[in-house]
């Protein structure tokens, strides 16, 4: 059995970060794997930063990923990926959605948003590999911009590192969504998967 595989999902309230970790966790349990995880809710939901960890493997006990021990970071938003840089190591994979969500403090002039090149350079230096994609755009192609989180989940599987079979996660997605929405979400997953394969070529 896998010893330790740590996925950190980061984003902004409303992006579906928690749903992603639920789908991942459920699929891992289907595969007979031991799963631990944790999330931040509460004050953080109303547009604030959200992170969720899913940890898979027999050596995993705590709900949190230790600093420097993230296997894959899935960033739904560039600056929120950067905020979690201390979890990365040279063997980490980073998959980041390049569509930025600018907080209102920037409109107010109370803070500034980093430029994308800077974000990617910093993340690239800290991690082993980095995959960038515009998940929001791909989600629109799939049929709904609300599926950006499923696109990113697809991309995570596209890296072909997870100890979970693609069939298992697809089954979980189908169970989770009403039959009308399921095909759009499966399409979003597939497009994300391919985009990641393409990027890693």
């Amino acid at each position: 059995m896998t010893k330790e595989f740590n996925v950190l999902i980061t984003g902004v309230g409303g992006q579906g970060v928690i749903l992603m970790s639920e789908l991942l966790g459920k699929s891992a349990v289907k595969e007979g794997l031991k799963v631990r995880g944790s999330e931040i809710l509460g004050m953080a939901v109303r547009g604030g930063s959200v992170t969720s960890a899913i940890r898979i493997g027999k050596d995993v006990y705590g709900p949190l990923i230790p600093t420097g021990k993230c296997t894959a970071l899935v960033g739904m938003e560039p600056s929120e990926a950067l905020r979690n840089i201390s979890f990365l190591s040279k063997s980490s994979l980073v998959i980041v959605n390049t569509a930025a969500t600018i907080p209102f403090t920037v409109s107010l002039g109370e803070s500034t948003y980093p430029d994308m090149e800077q974000v990617l350079e910093k993340l690239g230096k800290a991690a082993g590999r980095i995959v960038e994609l515009d998940a929001t755009k791909i989600a629109q192609e799939a049929g709904s911009r609300l599926t950006a989180n499923i696109v990113m989940l697809g991309a995570l599987f596209g890296a072909e590192q997870l100890p979970i079979k693609t069939a298992a996660i697809k089954e979980t997605i189908e169970e989770r969504f009403p039959s009308k929405a399921a095909p759009t979400n499966i399409k979003a997953f597939d497009l994300g998967y391919q985009a990641c394969r393409q990027a890693l070529k």
């Binding site: 006990y61 705590g62 600093t67």
Partner: protein, 634 residues
């Protein structure tokens, strides 16, 4: 195969759940018949889960008006021989503190469990109090799990233990248990359903000084028995390593961090480990065994040095020469982590840290200035934004009459409206506890010459807002009390309350109106406004503030999150607003600076509305001095 759910009677099956669902499952397996709670992060999902399956399991679940009532509901059921529980966040236990301190004297008939959900690092709280001290004060034994699986098992056992010792138990969870996720192995569901019986017996049910004196020694006897028993409970476990110099005592969740730390350092076989699942009372025999076998000990526990103090006392009483570390190595503030425990153990064992943590800290420090500030904010279309705006405009108008540099004061409360303490609104001057806004306003009224306008939400009003309202009437405090009524307990996840007209189990209920209560309490100025009619709302606020004596304004509009959800369900179009660039004055920024709605953004210097976020509330159109904000044509 039928899909597994939280109430499936499928022993041995594995289910992926939230920690709070695991706690609820434990109670289900124990056959709990009465569950009461008041919402509060990180505890709310426990009762939500139970209420969702209560009918099918022949169980009763309620959202009580506050934690004191919730605890009393559970206590009453226990008196009648029924297994019962109350769940609440850590500060909720303060509200239940009064009956709790006598409940220890009483003991329990039906298994009685109080779930206290503590919140190290105060992720969603006003403080990070450590409720093990409340348990200590009340002679209440504490069970504290180290994982989601153990949370389920322990909760089920808690009822058994409570009946075995005829005593109330506290189950202490923390954010990283309740909001952790993990796979659990399901146990069997107890199907026994008891019939409540109230047996009149003043000796343990009526507390006059006489019964206090009779029952205290009995409580001490029960507690002594529990003290012996905890040495053999499976939740406390001692693993001695041959020739170990260092021993770790790890309480609750810290045990998981310690296991990972030892593995990370590769020294599992060189360090002795005592897992603590009952921090109060401690398994004294196991503690003595560990202390006598090593030279140094590290206590790994979150928040206050609770276990540390007691371990030090045990070492002292038994003259054991051992150096005990705890809060000298690990912080009192916030959560522990694998890293923090790893560093402490590495230091004490002179092992090499598995990573260059300093490099990671440096990286994080370098990155920090690049990051935008992303505080949580009121949702687009939130009615609290409008209420706050009306309050500020009205109270500033009145303040001018008090004198040149008089500022109105806004005592605030705990709920979504508190998010307006951030810029640009900065509309909250104090936040202390639920109901604290009205209470603080009462005190200010007697010492400050300025308009005092306090605000709280509908759920908070029913919970703790009524006594200070009555106080203002009785003691003639000249204050304005605004009830921001959005028909929900929004901050904690939209739970129903006495003003919503339905109960936790989805039944219709009498819908109480704050304005009726205010009138009945003798408030002479009571008005109800729609905050989105900004002009009218502001005028009414002004009248209320000018009214000599306590005044109440109920500012009523459904929570925008709920409204959007309902609109989507009804397939009703959401028509956003847009900025007419021909009319907008680029330098103005009034809408952004006055309201801070997340849908109002700057794009290349121009003010625009993000149509994906805008709910079409129209508030910004009402404050724009150039009439540049208009409804998008459908």
């Amino acid at each position: 195969m039928k899909e597994l759910t939280i109430s499936s009677d499928a022993p041995g099956e594995r289910l992926f759940v939230l920690g709070n669902e695991a706690i609820a499952r434990g109670a289900i397996e124990a056959g709990v018949q009465v569950a009461a709670a008041y919402p509060g992060t990180p505890s709310s999902e426990i009762l939500e889960t139970l209420a969702g399956v209560a009918k099918g399991l022949d169980m009763y679940a309620e959202w009580s008006t506050n934690e004191k009532v919730a605890f009393e509901v559970a206590l009453a059921a226990s008196i009648c021989g029924i297994r019962s529980m109350a769940s609440m966040k850590h500060v909720g236990v303060n509200v239940a503190h009064d009956p709790l301190m006598t409940a220890g004297y009483m003991g329990a008939k039906g298994g009685l469990v109080l779930v206290s959900a503590d919140d190290p690092w105060a992720w969603s709280s006003q403080n990070e109090q450590d409720n093990r001290y409340i348990a200590l004060q009340g002679y209440i034994p504490v069970l504290e799990p180290s994982s989601v699986q153990e949370a389920k098992d322990m909760m089920a056992d808690a009822f058994e233990l409570s009946e075995e010792f005829k005593h109330l138990f506290m189950f202490r969870s923390v954010t990283r248990i309740g909001h952790a996720r993990g796979d659990i192995v399901l146990g069997k569901i107890a199907r026994e359903r008891r019939k409540g019986q109230f047996v009149k017996d003043r000796t343990w049910l009526v507390y006059t000084p006489r019964e206090a004196r009779i029952n205290k020694p009995l409580m001490l006897e029960r507690f002594d028995k529990i003290k012996k028993r905890v040495n053999t409970l499976p939740y406390n476990q001692l693993k001695l390593a041959d020739g170990a110099r260092l021993g770790v005592v790890a309480c609750g969740l810290s045990y998981s961090y310690t296991l990972e730390a030892l593995k990370w350092l590769g020294i599992e076989d060189r360090v002795s480990l005592l897992k603590i699942g009952t921090p109060h009372p401690l398994p004294e025999e196991l503690v003595i065994k560990l202390l006598s076998s090593v030279k140094e000990v590290l206590i790994a526990e979150e928040l206050d040095p609770f276990v540390e103090l007691h371990v030090k006392a045990i070492a002292g009483e038994n003259n054991i020469p051992v150096k005990i570390h705890g809060k000298d190595r690990l912080p009192r503030i916030g959560e522990l982590s694998t890293r923090k425990v790893t560093e402490a153990i590495a230091d004490l064992t002179k092992s090499k840290p598995p990573l260059d943590f300093g490099r990671l800290d440096k990286l994080e420090k370098e990155t920090a200035p690049l990051l935008p500030w992303r505080p949580p904010a009121l949702c687009p279309g939130c009615s609290h934004r409008a209420s706050h705006y009306a309050i500020r405009v009205a109270s500033k108008r009145v303040a001018r009459d008090y004198g040149q540099d008089i500022e109105p004061i806004y005592p605030g409360d705990i709920g979504c409206y508190n998010l307006a303490y951030n810029p640009p609104q900065e509309a909250v001057d104090t936040t202390i506890c639920m109901g604290g806004s009205f209470g603080i306003a009462n005190g200010l009224a007697h010492v400050i010459e300025a308009p005092i306008v306090a605000h709280l939400g509908d759920s908070t009003f029913f919970h703790a807002g009524i006594p200070p309202l009555i106080n203002a009437v009785y003691n003639k405090a000249n204050v304005t009390m605004v009830i921001m009524d959005n028909s929900a307990t929004a901050m904690t996840g939209f739970q129903p309350h006495p003003g919503t007209g339905y109960t936790a189990m989805g039944e219709k209920a009498v819908q109480l109106k704050p304005e009726d209560i205010a009138k009945a309490c003798g408030v002479e100025f009571v008005e109800v406004v729609d905050p989105f009619d900004l002009k009218k709302a502001t005028e009414t606020m002004e009248k209320a503030i000018r009214f000599p004596g306590p005044a109440v304004v109920v500012s009523r509009r459904l929570c925008a999150m709920i409204e959007q959800r309902e609109k989507r369900k009804r397939k009703e179009a959401i028509i956003p607003y847009r900025v007419d660039q021909d009319k907008c004055n680029e330098k103005c920024n009034a809408c952004i600076e006055l309201l801070g709605c997340p849908a109002l953004i700057k794009e290349d210097g121009r003010t625009v509305i993000d149509s994906a976020l805008c709910t079409g509330c129209g508030l910004c159109a009402q404050v724009c001095p150039y009439k540049a904000i208009v409804e998008e044509k459908p």
